[in-house]
């Protein structure tokens, strides 16, 4: 690693350079792009998908996949609304129940995959449909908001607790007053924690070992099944956290499938493979990937680009990132076999 060839340099820093170039171009075209407020709302716009993407990363590390995260997030959103608006309980109860729900879904996913030997994509696909349906059963398909009429004819009088709404709306003084939303702080904390866990702790290294060769890891005396279940629990909890932030931002329980959340966060995690030439799932890359998509979309929106061009460009970025990962860094590129 002493001297790097130009190709190696391109693989390592190409994506970060691309991102820097993008920021320069957008700033030249729209000066408003380069302001602290703009930076903060880009972070805010990626906070929820970023957290979900970090959860996906955990499952990718053990060579798994979690398709249910979008549905877990929207289920957590409905659950938190149900707890506060219909059961009229507090913010803490809502948060705790949502996180427990996420952990439970992760446990069930892990159980299906590890014990029942259902392939990961199929098990989590089933869970996705199950949750999309389940979250609508209590309200017969309606969104939840204060003042809604319940099945028994009563009117829901509960409201979203102010402490809960703070999670999505409160801003912390940083450089400028009222600048950084709490959701961004949550994203940064989660990203750092995930990075530390995956890169610096024994558990994280073991998970990478399982991802690259589960059999070898098992022969080395590692509890493979346990760690794989853990990965799905992490993913479920992160997804429910994303759902909590979503509910706090929207201020109601919104009927939504969460498919776009799933796709965006998977895209971020996959783009992350290309960052610093890692060619494998990693927390730093995932965070950068989410940020990259966020910068791109916010910049394009400022330039009045319609949504379909944004989808097109998002897809193009993903394809380029995957080429970076699998072709250019081919020698070490054995990310998902």
């Amino acid at each position: 690693m002493t001297s790097l060839s130009p190709t190696d340099l391109a693989i390592r820093y190409g994506f970060l350079l691309l991102m820097a170039g993008m920021i320069v171009v957008f700033s030249l075209l729209k000066p408003a792009f380069l302001s602290p407020q703009s930076a903060v709302f880009i972070l805010q716009s990626v906070a929820i998908t970023g957290i979900l993407a970090l959860g996906v990363t955990a499952t990718l590390v053990v060579d798994g996949f979690d398709l249910s995260i979008g549905a877990v997030a929207t289920s957590a959103m409905m659950l938190s609304a149900y707890v506060m608006v219909i059961w009229e309980m507090g913010a803490l109860t809502a948060v705790v129940l949502c996180l427990l729900m996420g952990a439970a879904v992760g446990l069930i996913n892990g159980f299906l995959i590890v014990k029942m030997r259902v392939p990961d994509l199929l098990a989590t696909l089933g869970m996705m449909f199950l949750l999309v349906g389940l979250q609508r059963i209590p309200t017969a398909g309606n969104s939840i908001s204060t003042g809604m009429v319940l099945a028994d004819g009563r009117t829901a009088t509960g409201t979203f607790a102010p402490e809960f709404l703070m999670l999505g709306r409160h801003r912390i003084d940083f450089i400028l007053p009222d600048l950084v939303p709490l959701s961004v702080v949550v994203l940064v904390v989660i990203a750092v924690l995930t990075w530390v866990f995956l890169e610096l702790t024994r558990h994280g290294r073991v998970m990478y070992a399982i991802g690259s060769n589960a059999q070898a890891a098992a022969l080395a005396g590692i509890n493979v099944a346990g760690y794989r279940v853990l990965a799905y629990v992490i993913s479920g909890v992160m997804a429910s956290l994303g759902g909590i932030l979503l509910a706090a931002r929207l201020g109601r329980g919104d009927v939504a499938s969460g498919n776009n959340l799933l796709l965006d966060s998977v895209a971020a995690a996959l783009i992350g493979f290309a960052v610093l030439g890692a060619a494998k799932p990693n927390a730093f890359g995932t965070a950068v990937g989410a940020l990259f998509v966020g910068i791109l979309l916010q910049g394009l929106t400022m330039l009045n680009a319609p949504y379909y061009t944004q989808d097109f460009i998002k897809g193009a970025v993903l394809v380029v990132a995957l080429v970076f990962t699998f072709a250019l860094s081919g020698r070490s590129g054995r990310a998902r076999r």
Binding site: S35, I48, S145, R249, L303
Partner: protein
């Protein structure tokens, strides 16, 4: 000359007419409604609007005493056409087609008509003169909302517009927006954006944040779909611009009412038809066809303008209050006959 006695008799008969009409026996086949089977074949079903539409269909069907079967294709155009065939095979008497694509539904609808089944269509043009169209007038919706915007802000303002092309009701609302812009050259549209990525409100909020920071001089946001308006409101609040930006939209739900009534809310007005009423009208139009009456080729459910001030002055908290306190919203006097039984209120 009319004598006093005949006048009195006339007056009495006029006064008695409504009760006589109520007592009027329903024509066949509604003299034995338990034998009447109707089907609702849906293309769109997820969301508050479609949920409320379904409840309207169910209530009106129950009021008439007919059997209702619901087929839900969940945005699968081919499946929806198959479901029409399934309904034909089941031998239903009437079919309501709710949304869908002209291309896929046109022939299926024709097959149903050929099988002697009465058909009405809501918000999908199946290009068949025998099939009445039920419509919430999207052009009127947009017109009412924009008239409110012009009344509040004068005819010269900087505007942002939320639009996703290719969605029929949004396209019809867009026609009105283009016309209003042409009639009022003082309207300066500086940004057009929009997305249907769900949760829609969250995705639109992200976009609207960018738009507001790129165009901090925006005074009016026209967001002719309530999910769009929710997203814009979140962005306006986050940008601290509620005092400066006014939002005008279409459609309404309980959650929307709460948002419009928040202190200092930027969401000033929305134009809406009650989706439950549209559902009731769909069933009534079908019932008229079944009884051999003609509801006309187009049955338009008129929209109502709902302003922030109205909601606050009448202390309206949810859709039920809205129906109770704004009678125009609770019942549309279209597709009505003397024998029609209405759902209880």
């Amino acid at each position: 000359m009319i004598s006093r006695r005949t006048f009195a008799a006339l007056a009495a008969s006029v006064a008695l007419a409504p009760s006589l009409a109520l007592a009027q026996d329903a024509p066949a086949p509604f003299d034995n409604p338990g034998q009447v089977n109707i089907a609702l074949v849906r293309y769109l079903s997820t969301g508050d609007f479609f949920q409320a539409y379904l409840s309207g269909v169910e209530k009106q069907a129950a009021a008439l005493g007919v059997n209702l079967q619901v087929f839900d294709s969940r945005q699968d155009a081919a499946l929806q056409a198959d479901m029409v065939d399934q309904a034909i095979a089941l031998g239903v008497d009437g079919i309501i087609i709710q949304h869908g694509l002209t291309e896929s539904m046109k022939e299926a609808a024709q097959r149903a008509v050929d099988a002697g089944i009465k058909v009405v269509a809501f918000d999908v043009n199946v290009e068949n003169p025998k099939i009445p169209q039920i419509e919430q007038s999207d052009r009127d919706l947009a017109r009412l909302a924009l008239e409110a915007a012009l009344a509040d802000n004068g005819n010269s303002f900087v505007a942002g517009y939320v639009y996703v092309p290719g969605i029929a009701p949004l396209d019809r609302r867009d026609e009105t927006w283009k016309k209003v812009k042409a009639d009022n050259p003082g309207i300066n549209e500086v940004a057009m954006f929009g997305t249907l990525d769900n949760p829609i409100a969250n995705s639109v909020a992200n976009q609207a944040r960018s738009v507001l920071s790129a165009n901090p001089n925006i005074q009016v946001m026209f967001a002719p779909y309530d999910e769009f308006a929710k997203g814009v409101k979140i962005a306006v609040d986050e940008a601290g611009m509620s005092g400066q930006v006014s939002i005008y939209s279409a459609d309404i739900s309980t959650a929307d009412i709460q948002l419009m009534r928040e202190p200092g809310s930027a969401w000033k007005a929305t134009a809406a038809t009650n989706p439950a009423v549209v559902g009731e009208v769909s069933v009534r139009a079908l019932a008229m066809l079944l009884a051999g009456e003609d509801p006309g080729p187009q049955v338009i459910v008129p929209p109502t303008l709902i302003t922030q001030k109205m909601l606050n002055d009448l202390d309206i908290k949810n859709m039920e209050d809205l129906g109770a306190k704004l009678p125009a919203f609770a019942h549309a006097d279209v597709a009505m006959t003397p024998w029609m039984k209405l759902p209880p209120r």
